[in-house]
């Protein structure tokens, strides 16, 4: 078994772990972290496939590499947007869960 295959199993396990956390953890911030775990597993799978496609003197296929670089930046901006939404929810409602917890008395108050 080569090192590339070991990392492939690692990536598959990261996707599974992230999915489990995404479903079972009730806190939104933990869901965001779990989703990032899924994403990093998917990116690593790209890397494993690209490593196997090494040719022409390159150690790793440049096309999946370029896709992953773009993906990392997009994942970061999505995470930042999700966290901004969460912080705003916490400020406006005083809670950071998505359950039916009671909101603040007057939803029309400016909040800040």
């Amino acid at each position: 078994m080569s090192g590339t295959t070991v990392f492939g199993f690692c990536a598959a396990a990261a996707v599974g772990l992230g999915l489990y956390g995404l479903i079972t953890n009730p806190q939104p911030l933990r869901k965001i972290i779990a989703f990032n775990l899924v994403g990093s597993g998917v990116f690593l799978l790209f890397g494993v496939v690209g490593r196997r496609g090494a040719a022409a003197g390159l150690g790793n296929d440049p096309v999946p590499q370029a896709l992953v670089i773009t993906g990392v930046v997009v994942a970061f901006s999505a995470t930042a947007l999700a966290i901004a939404l969460l912080l705003r929810l916490f400020k406006a409602a005083g809670t950071a869960t998505l359950s039916d917890a009671p909101l603040r008395a007057d939803p029309d108050s400016p909040g800040d």
Binding site: S2, G3, V6, F9, C10, A11, A13, A14, V15, G16, L17, L19, Y20, I23, T24, N25, P26, Q27, L29, I33, A34, N36, S40, L45, G47, V48, G50, R51, R52, G53, A54, A55, A56, L58, N60, D61, P62, V63, Q65, A66, V68, I69, T70, V72, V73, V74, F76, S77, T79, A80, L81, I83, A84, L87, F90, A96, T97, S99, P110, G111
Partner: protein, 314 residues
């Protein structure tokens, strides 16, 4: 294919251990710290996979800036941690575990069953490198062969910042993002914020410039510039700029606009959208990358700073 070394197996095991910790640990803050460590190890794996460009991006954006973002959010949401939120029951958790295990096993199976003469675009990317004059094939794919993806990614960054800013309360519209950081002006953080940026800015620009021929480029360089900017903000030496400032908005759109403009010129001059004439390819790509590095640095920094919270009026 070589046999896996002890180093690779230990690296994979520690990585998975951190992944499990991130999911099962009780406090959100500990989970966040675990995820930051996880991100740095992922960067190491990318080095082992011979993808140094991705490793640099992962370390700077995934591990570094992403870590600061998550740690900041976890610190601000600490009170929310104390509130009891209902956890799913046994049956729910067991079925989620079964589903996740099934998907992980299917992916692991796919890794084992990959075709043995792996399909690859590497020879095509190397053979066509003459068309741009850059010898880093990852930069070639990003900026020329798949330039459409990269341009649209700039638009995604712009949309993300529009989304974050639109969460501002009315009173802070056009105001400064995030809280004002106050630290001891003689403390360690303020010292680092004076010492590191001159070095970091040079390193960031070097990584941008060397990206044409070696691992590096606008993303990695931009992330380093953004972290230097954030360091001075967090040390209280500078404040986040009001989001209404013209120059700031100009920098945010400069990268995507220049990219789009070059793309349209390619379309009008005959060949195709985003095609560069080979004689001008290198200066055009470097020009776009210089505009992009500023846009990326400003966008990443502002995404971390968050929604406007304070009115800029005194």
């Amino acid at each position: 294919m070589s046999i896996a070394t002890i180093f690779e197996i230990v690296l994979a095991a520690v990585l998975l251990g951190l992944g499990v910790w991130t999911i099962v640990v009780r406090e959100t803050f500990s989970a966040t710290v675990g995820f930051v460590a996880y991100g740095l190890l992922v960067a190491l794996i990318w080095v082992r996979l011979d993808a140094v460009d991705v490793a640099l991006t992962e370390a700077a954006i995934g591990g570094g800036l992403g870590g600061v973002l998550l740690l900041g959010a976890a610190a601000r949401l600490r009170d929310a941690d104390l509130m009891a939120s209902e956890t799913p029951g046994e049956v729910m958790r067991a079925s989620a575990a079964a589903l996740s295990a099934l998907i992980a096993a299917a992916l692991a199976g796919a890794v084992v069953l990959l075709p043995d003469a792996a399909p690859t675009l590497a020879p095509a990317a190397v053979a066509n490198a003459w068309a741009t004059g850059l010898s880093n094939s990852v930069t070639n794919v990003l900026m020329a062969f798949r330039a459409m993806d990269t341009m649209l990614e700039k638009v995604v960054l712009l949309l993300a910042i529009v989304g974050v800013w639109s969460l501002a309360p009315d009173s802070a519209w056009d105001g400064r993002p995030g809280p004002r950081h106050e630290t001891d002006p003689n403390g360690v953080l303020a010292f680092l914020a004076r010492l590191l940026p001159p070095v970091g800015i040079v390193v960031g620009i070097y990584i941008l410039w060397t990206g044409a021929d070696h691992p590096g480029g606008a993303f990695q360089g931009g992330a380093i510039l953004a972290s230097m900017w954030l360091l001075t903000i967090m040390a209280g030496l500078a404040d986040t700029p009001p989001t209404g400032r013209r120059w700031l908005r100009f920098i945010l759109v400069a990268g995507p606009c220049l990219f789009l403009l070059v793309g349209l010129v390619g379309l009008l001059s005959g060949a195709a959208f985003l095609s560069y004439p080979p004689a001008l390819a290198k200066p055009l790509i470097l020009g776009i990358e210089v505009a992009m590095v500023l846009t990326i640095a400003a966008t990443l920094g502002l995404l971390l700073a968050g929604a406007p919270e304070r009115s800029w009026k005194p």
